[in-house]
């Protein structure tokens, strides 16, 4: 069976007066079986939201390069023209709950109207208004909201309620894939837990989720697989056990080391150096200025996809058995 989602060589660069911002720079990954979740983890500004927008072809005016293929259930949706893509892919097959879902509800639309609006706008929709309302009300109930929410305006909802309305809205066309961009970053811990539980339930029902967050601990709670993103590229991708148990990339190790632990004598470490400027990226491995175990080859050659001992894919020369030989060759030249 073809994977639910397959992304190949995705690029999204922005034009900027200070230079091209390489926000997504050759990202490839796969979300295999239905009902699984892939976590997209990385520091702020590493291009996670840009990757989500690129998958949905939501390109700002200053897009400098947009490239790559997105396959859904074995169909290359990137080949569709813009109008067809808008009508048949967005929200229907692949629903994005954007970052800042707190403000993603229209302030002058009641919840009920907002929920059903995407269905009503499609002219082809032969769905009865009554049936549509029943379905939408059912979704509100499904995400744990009281039926009175139907008539409320967004400013009358709490942050958690808004996030639920967004999720209910994203489910209106029963998409195969839900992309959640930082779904809980503005919520307090208890509400965050409620949303996570809701997502787990949805996942158990067969929904595939791409979960974008800067919080690796939160991602590990729900995700079967994790992709660690650094400066517009994937550094390491594998099962949650592999990434958390035997991280293969020095950046992942640092990232895990920076999580504060309860009753731990050691203070959480922070990653030295500043997050890279996507306009002026370091040569070779993008992490080399901050890496604690760099090799001589690192500043010179961009790492290729390698298999770590624990089985995950990693982009780091440390895992290349011939790396010393390569390094020697370079010195020879």
């Amino acid at each position: 069976m073809s994977p639910v989602l397959q992304v190949r060589d995705l690029y999204l660069h922005y034009a900027d007066p200070a230079g091209t911002v390489r926000a997504v720079d050759g990202v490839s990954f796969e979300l295999g079986e239905p009902g699984t979740a892939l976590g997209f983890v990385g520091e702020s500004g590493c291009g996670k939201s840009s990757a989500a927008n690129a998958m949905l072809r939501m390109l700002p005016g200053n897009t400098a390069r947009y490239d790559g293929e997105v396959w859904l259930d074995g169909v290359c949706v990137s080949a569709l023209d813009a109008e067809e893509f808008r009508r048949s892919v967005r929200w229907r097959q692949m629903a994005l709950v954007p970052q800042g879902a707190q403000n993603s509800l229209n302030p002058v639309m009641r919840v009920g109207k907002w929920l059903t609006e995407p269905v009503r706008q499609s002219r082809s929709a032969d769905i009865e208004p009554d049936a549509l309302e029943r379905q939408a009300r059912g979704l509100l109930e499904r995400v744990g909201l009281p039926s009175g929410t139907w008539n409320l305006y967004p400013h009358e909802l709490s942050g958690g309620m808004k996030q639920r309305v967004m999720i209910a809205g994203a489910l209106i066309f029963s998409p195969r894939l839900l992309i959640m961009d930082e779904p809980t970053s503005a919520l307090d811990v208890s509400v965050q837990a409620q949303i996570m539980n809701l997502l787990k339930d949805l996942k158990a029902e067969g929904l595939s989720i791409l979960f974008i967050t800067h919080d690796i601990a939160l991602a590990s709670d729900i995700c079967d697989r994790l992709a660690v993103v650094y400066a517009g590229r994937i550094a390491e991708i594998g099962s949650s056990e592999q990434i958390l148990g035997q991280p293969a990339h020095p950046y992942t190790r640092r990232l895990l080391g920076s999580i504060p632990r309860l009753h731990d004598e050691a203070l959480p470490e922070f990653i030295p150096g500043a997050p890279p400027d996507l306009r002026k990226l370091p040569s070779g491995c993008r992490f080399h200025p901050r890496c604690d175990v760099p090799l001589t080859v690192c500043p010179e050659r961009v790492p290729v996809r390698l298999k770590a001992e624990s089985g995950q894919d990693v982009w780091c020369w440390l895992h290349d058995r011939t790396v010393n030989q390569v390094a020697l060759e370079i010195q020879d030249e």
Binding site: G61, P118, S122, G144, E156, S158, G160, V191, Q194
Partner: protein, 386 residues
Amino acid sequence: MTASTEVFEEVLVADQADQDDRFYYASQWSLIWWRFRRHRVAMVSTVLLLLLYLLAVLPGFFSPYLPSTRFESYQEAPPVRLHWMDKSSEGGGFIGPHYYGYEKTLNKETFKYEFEPILDNPIRLRLFAPGSEYTIVGDWTSTIHFFGTDVEEPPPFMLFGADRLGRDLLSRTLYGARISLSIGLIGVALSLILGVILGGISGYFGGLIDEVIQRLIDFLISIPQIPLWMALSAALPRDWPVLKTYFAITIILSILGWTGLARVVRGKLLSLREEDYAMAAKAAGTGESRIIFKHLLPGFTSHLIVTVTLAVPTMILAETALSFLGLGIQPPAVSWGTLLQDAQDIVAIAQHPHQLIPAAWVMAAVLLFNNVGDGLRDAADPYSDH
């Protein structure tokens, strides 16, 4: 599971909603209406404005004569006074609303005609009296007027006096209101359509198309208005029928009027399209035009309504100015502007100040619109206290 354990926050909100249902569920529009109703001046102005438009819709019924009816011997007669108490020599008591005919005499010293009421012959007025036939709309005619008299061949009752040709100024003002007040509305409606579409495209898409529309607006604004209007309306053929001239003038006025509205719409959309909810609508597969008109525009309709209300008086003034200069509506059609043409001569005004009465109507209409607009602005402002 999740749904049942975490309803506490929702219950809280639901409780609040029950307590103050009316306010809590109130739509933006009911909130605006509640605040507007408490704005005295604006409310009174709204009622008066509606009355004014009622007069303008049914000028035939409210005016005693046709605008073209001439009373040869009453040229430039001053306003006839309305009386309640009998002024004749033997009378003196209350006899209801009535007036007295004029006797016209030539003053031998100044060589001017003078009008003196003939006090021994009161002519009683009554409501819904028969008079000359007028058309209401299309082929539908009537002879019943709002007020009139049953007396056979009465002297004319000219509450605002007569113009140079002896026509009733009240009737002419009411018929003029039809053109002057409707041109304001239709002109602004046209400007609104142009402004929303062009401003919407400009603000939402940005880039080159925005640049082009903005330069066009700059160009239109940089041309001095009055000369441009004059040039355009001077280009209209004189022999066009009234209706055609009327629409041509309306279009000329809105060609310049849309620029302001387009700027408002563009400015709003420029900021709103960056809002998360516009992005979310896009992520939901909503088309561009639907995002503009269904998702973003409703966010500032109240703002637009205020702008539009405040734009109407400008239109009315513009029409008046054009017609006053003889470039707008052409006689025999009547608008407030053409009526004021009679008041162009300072000597005429000094001798017959009643010729300025149409100007008072223009001022009243403009002030009323401004009051309503101010009231709406206050009511639509979410930060004004309620």
